[in-house]
């Protein structure tokens, strides 16, 4: 026992020393900026709950945002990012909404399952149980084929699908997702009969497209950017209202090709319900200030997201709109 505790101590000391070394270069607990004299909020660290696993889209979004806020000292208190994956986010969100009601220090983020979860009866909390702080950007979706696919345009795809009913297949993430909704809406609007193959994530969808295991697939631009740039895949359409900017400006929208499908994943910050207006104002300012920095704008551009800044009121209204849209399409998917 004595010896084992000794080596354990040695290992621990080494670890502590090394982490301290590494830790020095990261701005962990930055000294607080001069606090506002008239208000004491915030007086303790924030917790930012990511209801998904580390490294995913939501996680990268939140961690980058928190880093920008901390680097620029927009918050006098540190923000701790916590991952609580499970139940497509419903576990994390129900903790925020139910266990932290009225707690302005418990923040979270939204993704499409924030809306689809409660609509399909798989989450006990809906957008109505949250105070909306601000929305920053949307992740659009692309219709993609492999570079050596016979489809040059969306029209080629539609013609082929019509000629070969039930032969053309499409890959997307999971059977109950924005991807699935886009697929069924497209099938419906174009009057085609195709097969939807659900995969477990963007990486698998990309493999299916590249290996031509499915005829086409649906992915976000950030997941497809490297392949697009290298010319390994071709984008036939994008599901935004207007065309994207930058390198992706040549991709036509679904809408301009005659299929009225506008669907994108809104990313923003929410807090539990029942927090005061002053607190909302503070958090809104903090997030929107971060969104105005060049670092943030670079992140948005690098990942081909579309900037759509919304304040608390606009985001609340948008949430209702998004929810209604999902409700409309989910009926179709369910059949």
């Amino acid at each position: 026992m004595k010896k084992s505790t000794r080596w354990i101590t040695i290992v621990m000391v080494c670890l502590f020393a090394l982490t301290a070394m590494v830790g020095c270069s990261s701005p962990a607990a930055t000294p607080t900026a001069p606090a506002e004299p008239e208000s004491t909020f915030p007086e303790k660290p924030f917790e930012m709950m990511v209801p998904m696993g580390a490294g995913g889209g939501s996680d990268v979004f939140v961690r980058t945002l928190v880093k920008v806020i901390e680097d620029n000292k927009f918050s006098p208190q540190p923000i701790v990012v916590v991952n609580k994956p499970g139940g497509s986010g419903s576990i994390g969100w129900s903790i925020v909404a139910n266990d932290h009601k009225g707690d302005p220090y418990e923040l979270s983020t939204v993704s499409s399952s924030f809306y689809t979860g409660p609509l399909s009866g798989k989450s006990p909390v809906s957008y109505k149980d949250f105070t909306h702080i601000a929305a920053l950007c949307v992740d659009p979706n692309l219709i993609l084929v492999a570079a050596d696919s016979k489809y040059q345009t969306l029209d080629d795809l539609v013609q082929d699908a019509k000629a070969n009913a039930g032969k053309v297949s499409a890959g997307g993430s999971s059977g109950l997702s924005v991807d699935a909704i886009i697929f069924y809406a497209f099938e419906d609007l174009a009057g085609m009969d195709m097969k939807y193959v659900p995969f477990e994530g963007g990486g698998e969808v990309m493999t299916a497209i590249l290996g031509q295991h499915t005829s086409w697939g649906i992915l976000g631009p950030s997941e497809a950017a490297a392949q697009l740039e290298a010319g390994k895949v071709r984008a036939l359409a994008v599901t935004t209202e207007e065309r994207l900017g930058g390198d992706l400006k040549d991709i036509p929208t679904m809408k301009e090709q005659g299929y009225d499908i506008v669907m994108a994943q809104t990313r923003g910050i929410v807090a539990p319900s029942g927090i005061s207006d002053d607190e909302v104002k503070f958090l809104e300012d903090m997030v929107l200030k971060a969104a105005a920095t060049p670092e943030w704008k670079k992140f948005v551009a690098d990942n081909f997201m579309e900037e759509t800044l919304m304040n608390a009121a606009e985001f609340t209204a948008a949430s209702e709109r998004i929810n209604n849209m999902f409700a409309k399409y989910l009926d179709k998917v369910g059949q």
């Binding site: 026992m1 010896k3 084992s4 080596w7 670890l15 090394l18 070394m21 590494v22 830790g23 270069s25 990261s26 701005p27 696993g53 580390a54 490294g55 995913g56 996680d59 990268v60 961690r63 880093k67 990012v81 916590v82 609580k84 994956p85 499970g86 139940g87 497509s88 419903s90 129900s94 399909s120 798989k122 989450s123 006990p124 039930g166 032969k167 297949s169 059977g175 097969k195 193959v197 659900p198 995969f199 477990e200 994530g201 990486g203 698998e204 990309m206 493999t207 299916a208 590249l210 290996g211 295991h213 499915t214 950017a225 490297a226 392949q227 740039e229 290298a230 390994k232 992140f299 990942n303």
Partner: protein
Amino acid sequence: METIQNLLFGLSVANDPINLVYCLVGVIFGTLVGALPGLGPSAGIAVLLPLTFGANPISGIIMLAGIYYGAMYGGSITSILINTPGDSAAVMTTLDGYPMAKKGRAGQALGMAAFASIIGGTISVIAFMFLAPALAEFAIRFGPPEYFALMILGLTTIAGMTGKYPSKGFLSALLGLFFATIGLDLVQGIPRFAFGTYHLYEGLDFIPVAMGLFGIAEILTARSDGNVIKIDKKDVAWRKLLPSKEDWKNAWAHILRSTGIGFFIGMLPGAGATIASFITYGVAKKTSKRSEEFGTGVIEGVAAPEAANNSASIGAMVPLLTLGVPGSGSTAIMLGALMMFGLRPGPLLFDRNPDFVWGLIGSMYIGNVFLLLLAILAVPLFVKVLNVSRPVLSATVMSFILIGSYSLNNSMFDVGLTIGFGVFGFFMKKLEYPAAPMVLALVLGNILETSLRQSIIISGGNPAIFFTRPISGTIMVIAILAVLYPLVKKGIQYFLKSKTA
């Protein structure tokens, strides 16, 4: 010779003092999280991700990669010493590693695990360096039918783990397959067998099951089974702790074969180190001269899965860096990290950021050397853990298992689940139901069902798709031969015997 030049350049990048420190920290950390029950490489990478933000991307990825392959070795430590797999890829190591420890050969098992890991790792880095882009092209030809065939091949290895009573072994595997169906159905999104709790929507996690069935069950039965391991003071000498010449003779062919298989399976997105270790254990058993002794503590039963999981962890870097497609949970988190660094892994990464790619490759050579030094130095220390008195060891191991299962999803639900599977494992052990087939089936079951349904959707309802596609057809034939081979062998022996008689 461009590759050699690039490698020298990469080594010079990796030799930068800061990068060396990051590499060392990554390897130490990886070994630690790997050894802690419950915390695997993906948890380790996830929790240490924020530490890399202050660093430049090269240092960051060097550290994350170090955690990944370090954890693959670290997982073997607790597997061998206390029959508790530190992470999912180390389950197979318990099958022969722990019996070796019971025989008083813990040192040799740990030493062989270290050498096999490092040899596997180093050979894989070489393969990575020369073949990465070409291999990536091959990896994407694996679609749902190919995965299904691979899972079937994996399931055939169960036949080798059923222990004394085949029916109980198969029952254990079938229950494992059933556990894999728990959770939200991927196609329709409806919850199955979730008992009304959101916690089971993402499915039954492998870690609570493995820790309950192996770790807790071992604690509950150790004393009554009389598994008291004592290490003599004089045995804790270096020479006695390292694998003997005979061990090497038995193991080296398995290390090389498992490295190849492990690297290849690791490269396939979605398959990963765990499945690689399962399949190589099965292959080692089939090809070994003393296959009937597997499970009683043979050295190649440790060498094969350990070589495989380390080479798989490096194989998983191939699709990550050349395609931007993560091959495992751990590399998915690394992809997120790279995106935060502002890098975009994909076909152009090798051309645009050569310092990054080659620096990483260089660091993997250096990291494997670190890992070897660390492992060899630490073996005598680890072995001393076995000298701790049984009650104290049981108590502390239990605390590690429970806190480890908590940190999996930061949830007490998983703690309860782990305890529940501990109870289940106790009864399984007492009634001689082997646990390994259940765990294996749980890992394979999810991909098995998903790929089956995806394939049938693609083929429009025709199951012939598994045989008409060249790669999946080949794997299916191998799987069928693997099942038939023992029967055929017996038949031939019987035939020859009857002829000579």
